[in-house]
Symmetry: C2
Subunit: 223 residues, 2 copies
DNA sequence: CTAGCATTCAAACGTTCGTTTGAAAGTCAT
DNA sequence: ATGACTTTCAAACGAACGTTTGAATGCTAG
């Protein structure tokens, strides 16, 4: 082994992943050609197939690189919340879920923000294998958070909780992916759009209230 | 002019639009080829370029066909709400916004449900011109609903309202577009997934609570 | 019937796509 | 230095794409 400063291992792989993250966000998967991608990454056209096998495998790798750590952070946050008090407060559970996402949003220098927008789009991606990848990655996380919320809100019917989690999930994903809409409503680009701390307060307040919305009769009856 | 039963005017156009709606929803815009599309529609390959000019113009036409009536219905609903009582209740305003969407969701026979999923994806579409089309179509609707909510919630800071509208908008769009997620949370496919009446109750309860969430200190300070 | 227009059709156009190939260059232990 | 890998490279592959073309067909008014 050499004593030289560590020459980045798999530097080509990393450069491809970084370029892919940005271009997939900008143009989508299909519209991003391997020639454009390898050009931006500064590598040979054949490098993607050599290092990843195919374009589709590259797409999966882009997701796995960020998604696994993010979900680990979510589970770790939930561990901490549950260790501190039982039963946990719904608000603390919500924060454990959304704060790893917002941390990535703050990462404008690295590709974190790019990735979050990419992820928000992936939930509604037409390509089935991509949705499946997302689904598989999220399944254990969903189970844990669902159980935690069931414990924190014992009076809520199960199917109503499922829908409210769905709503919460959608709000988070969409809020961060659809940057145009908030400008559309506001009429101009707000300066604090990516003040993650303030955004976390706003999201938490909204989601917490929605999660604890009073149960109407029609909903109770259906439960 | 003939006395025969009206032979559908522009039947080819309609068949193309219907096929496009379904295929764009299933596979996305880029992944849907003109050959597959015209094959499903039962028309000649050149028909799309003859009737619409280009693939991209067809995409726009698919959106315009449904979006304009839907937004008209929203404005009509808001008119009715505002005529009945001033100031209007936030809940009635929310219902005026979401119920035209849910009516389309119930239209499983026609392409309404397909279109809603397509629309949910369009907000995060990488293709800029599509997002712009959506934005232009929604701008007047957004202005009206924003004004209505400002009037209904005079105590809420403007920028907080903008964000909460963004959250609401996201919840609606995402809920209807990402059909996989609710299955992921629930663990199985719920039977009543598309019971529009029940879904409207659930959505309204969630959104109304979120919109009226208590203002935290940090938010008040930023306002 | 026929001239004029709208629509349909099969065939082909040029381009771009993801991937493959086989040789060249780089890397490292022995 | 040498041999065995790994990695890069320029070039090419066949396939599929959106679009165009010009002839054929359908329809309607005069």
């Amino acid at each position: 082994m050499s004593l030289r400063a560590v020459k980045p291992q798999h530097e080509t792989r990393t450069r491809i992943l970084d370029a892919a993250e940005e271009l997939f966000m900008q143009h989508g998967f299909e519209a991003t050609s391997m020639r454009l991608l390898t050009g931006k990454a500064g590598v040979n056209l054949a490098a993607v197939n050599y290092h990843f096998g195919s374009k589709h495998a590259l797409i999966e790798a882009v997701f796995r690189r960020r998604l696994d750590p993010m979900n680990q952070a979510r589970l770790a946050g939930l561990d901490k919340v549950e260790a501190e008090s039982r039963p946990s407060s719904p608000e603390a559970i919500i924060r454990a879920f959304i704060s790893p996402t917002l941390e990535l949003v703050q990462d404008a220098k690295g590709g974190g923000r790019n990735f979050i927008r990419l992820l928000g789009r992936a939930y509604t991606e037409p390509t089935k294998s991509i949705r499946q990848l997302i689904g598989q990655t999220y399944a254990p996380v969903m189970d844990r958070f669902k159980a935690a919320l069931e414990c924190a809100l014992p009076q809520m019917p199960r199917d109503e909780l499922v829908w409210r989690m769905h709503f919460m999930f959608g709000t988070l994903a969409y809020t961060l992916a659809a940057t145009d809409t908030v400008q559309l409503i506001a009429g101009c680009k707000p300066e604090d759009r990516y003040d993650a701390a303030l955004l976390e307060e706003r999201l938490t307040a909204f989601l917490h209230a929605g999660l604890n919305a009073p149960l109407k009769n029609s909903i109770r009856k259906a439960a």
